[in-house]
């Protein structure tokens, strides 16, 4: 079982054992693949003005398609209830957001190499962001839509009693939530 993250003389430290690290690595990887898939939509046609290719900007006439997968939509939500504002924001910022998220998730994957994890504040925050992205994706698969759903999922804590794939997913979600919560508490302590 993992040990809670704590803030102390050596920074923010915690322990995650091999089976949990393997699981987390796979989860980070799943989210990276979803984001990489979406990044392909951003490819500009080859015959476009080279200025766009150079700057990575998208021409105004080329809004990005809506995000169809609801789990991906949790990671890349609309920036406004106004569809015109939302489309423009997506066109101008989504590529950066994808790059940032993939970077955080890769960094988190690399952390999963050793039992003991030692973090500075900056790394700890990016690790918390990566864990949060995993939770967002899992929550969509678990159909957590309101506080009641969240409460139902949070009751699945005993691995010995897990019988269905959904219960297993709930157990994984609760593990990731627990790690994130202890990490945030350590970050809060470090903030003082």
């Amino acid at each position: 079982m993992a040990k809670a993250f704590k803030y102390g003389a050596h920074g923010i430290t915690g322990t995650i054992h091999a089976p949990e690290r393997k699981l987390l690595r796979e989860l980070f990887n799943d989210v990276i693949l979803m984001l990489e898939d979406r990044a392909e939509v951003h490819q500009l046609p080859e015959d476009i003005d080279p200025l766009y290719a150079l700057t990575g900007m998208r021409p105004e006439s080329m809004d990005l398609p809506a995000v169809a997968d609801p789990a991906l939509a949790r990671l890349l939500p609309d920036a406004s209830e106004d569809p015109v504002v939302a489309a423009e924001h997506r066109r101008l910022t989504e590529a950066d957001l994808i790059t940032t998220k993939i970077g955080q998730l890769r960094e988190a994957q690399f952390l999963m190499e050793t039992d003991k994890i030692v973090l500075k504040k900056d790394n700890a925050q990016r690790f918390a962001q990566a864990l949060n992205d995993v939770r967002l994706v899992l929550s969509e698969r678990l159909e957590i839509r309101n506080e009641d759903d969240a409460a139902r999922v949070s009751e699945v804590l005993d691995a010995a009693e897990v019988q269905s794939p959904d219960e297993y997913l709930a157990l994984v979600y609760n593990l990731v939530s627990w790690i994130q919560e202890t990490l945030i508490n350590a970050l809060m302590d470090a903030e003082l």
Partner: protein, 94 residues
């Protein structure tokens, strides 16, 4: 040494009546309360008390207007909130 020209070019100022944009953070059943509070503290530099109060407002009212400003400023806030995985939107004040 060079002297400054006697006549400085006139600086054109454009009065803007554009209404300020607002950053709204929405409640969702996934993001941990401690995490939302942490994000408010670390990204906006709010005090612990203010961050906690805004987080509770999101939790109880379903949303909270975190701050307002120019379109550019609020756009980059929204992007940062999405980076943290918070559900945030921007809207222009009435």
């Amino acid at each position: 040494m060079t002297a400054m020209p006697d006549v400085l070019p006139e600086i054109e100022t454009v009065a803007t009546n554009e209404k300020p944009w607002r950053l709204i953070v929405w409640n969702d059943p996934v993001n941990l309360m401690s995490y939302v509070s942490y994000v408010f503290r670390s990204y906006f530099g709010f005090s612990k008390e203010k961050a906690e109060q805004l987080m509770l407002q999101v939790h109880h009212d379903g949303f909270c207007m975190v701050r307002s400003g120019s379109r550019e400023a609020i756009e980059s806030d929204v992007q940062a909130m999405h980076g943290f995985g918070l559900n945030a939107t921007m809207t222009q004040g009435a």
